[in-house]
Amino acid sequence: MTRYAYYPGCSLETMAATYNVSTLEVAHKLGIELEELEDWNCCGATAYSHVDELLATVLCARNLAIAEKQGLDIVAPCNACFKNLWTTNAAIKRDADLADHMNYALEADDLHYGGHVEVSHIMEAFTTPEALEAIRSKASERLRRLRVAPYYGCQIVRPRRPGLTLSQVDDPQYFEELLRAAGADPVSYPYKLRCCGAALMVTNRRAAVQTLRDLLQSAVDSGADVIATACPLCQTNLECYQAEVNRAYGTEYAVPILYFTQLVGLALGVGLKRLGIGKELVSAEAVLKRPVAAAAKE
């Protein structure tokens, strides 16, 4: 059985609770054990790096050290958490002085980090060849003909990690592969790696609303029924501010935004309620019924 230290991140305890429950359901179905990181703290999002580099580094280092104590590698479901933990890990591993400084600070919490932990996004754990095979063999027809726009977002692929080729960063395919394994139809659209506006929704509303409009239009043009996300901030921006985009641009978008784990969970036979489906502001009810109805018509 594969085991990871699970770093849910702050959003998954609040706005993105449905991402949390659906992640746990999918992991359970796939026989992947997620042991929550003990007393984890916030990864810092973009704010700590605006304030102080060592502050940003030490707060992620604490999480890495806790995982090392638990003897497990970390998986994080949020793009920003993943990127912060990953880049901090890489910085500490290549810079002995930085590692010393961090360990001096970590002593204050009786921790030490020796650089023995790997960090992955939860999607990596769900797209290993074994996981994909398990999904393929267990998936029902539930998502048949559902056109899903796979929205990677930014920090799941960028900044590029060593060993990844240009095409893996410019046009990754693992999200599509996962959706196909779950029986859905991934659509192809040019903005799958474009920014959702992130924290600009608070700090520069006009800029964020425009990036969202571009993104929604791109997905709608591709014929998507639903956008699947792998990040709580992407999901929140796309869903909660869709109405704001409509007001600003006179558009009429009504695209449900689900976490990819909610869709995969549905394919694996988990009930709607257990996946948190029904808590969206833009209801997914109609599109999740549609494929079945469309299939019946044929």
């Binding site: 102080d52 502050l55 604490r62 790696l193 924290a199 600009l200 700090t203 509303r205 704001e244």
Partner: protein, 191 residues
């Protein structure tokens, strides 16, 4: 009388020194090709494009650079960093400049972003975790009264769906976390 002047580092070097934990090529490598600007999804909201900003840094035009809203407009999507043909990491440069502008207190008081980042950081130093509803109230007035009403309506809907927590979470060892942070930076610099 002979006067000697100690050599001063250039503004470019000052900026690069803020990037010690990051990798990436020196800004002198910039060929002003503007690939970064073309890749940026929010470039039209910046007063200087990323290309121009790097050019200004290399030219030592510190005041122009520090008065710019460019680095506070960056959303950290790293599209520029992925595309730079010279291996420069503009997104990390933007982070460096935000830190510089907070330390030197050079940011425009009307901008939301610096205060947001400070508030976010203070929350973490108190609780160890982020608490979304704690930031919103200070900033929703941006949209005027109708904006406030809309944000409240959305908050109520989220509340009804059980997606808004009323009580901020707190980690168990917050005291240790604070001592830990105090070993890398003075807490009263931010609190």
């Amino acid at each position: 009388m002979v006067t000697t002047t100690a050599p001063r580092i250039s503004f470019r070097e000052e900026v690069e020194n803020l990037l010690h934990a990051e990798e990436g090529a020196s800004l002198v490598r910039c060929i002003q090709c503007a690939t970064c600007s073309a890749a940026c999804p929010v470039v039209e909201f910046m007063d200087h494009s990323p290309r121009l900003l790097i050019g200004l840094i290399n030219a030592g035009m510190k005041d122009e650079v520090m008065a710019s809203n460019t680095f506070w407009t960056c959303a950290s999507c790293y599209a520029c960093t992925e595309k730079c043909p010279e291996g420069i990491r503009p997104a990390d440069v933007m982070y460096a400049l935000t830190r510089f502008s907070l330390w030197r207190d050079t940011f425009d008081r009307d901008w939301v972003a610096p205060e947001f980042s400070r508030r976010f950081t203070r929350t973490i130093l108190r609780t160890g975790k982020s608490y979304e509803p704690g930031y919103a109230p200070a900033f929703i007035f941006e949209g005027g009264f109708p904006g406030v009403v809309r944000e409240m309506q959305m908050a109520l809907k989220l509340l009804a769906k059980g997606r808004l927590p009323l009580i901020p979470a707190r980690i168990k060892r917050i005291r240790n976390l604070r001592s830990m942070v105090a070993r890398v930076m003075p807490l009263d610099g931010i609190e």
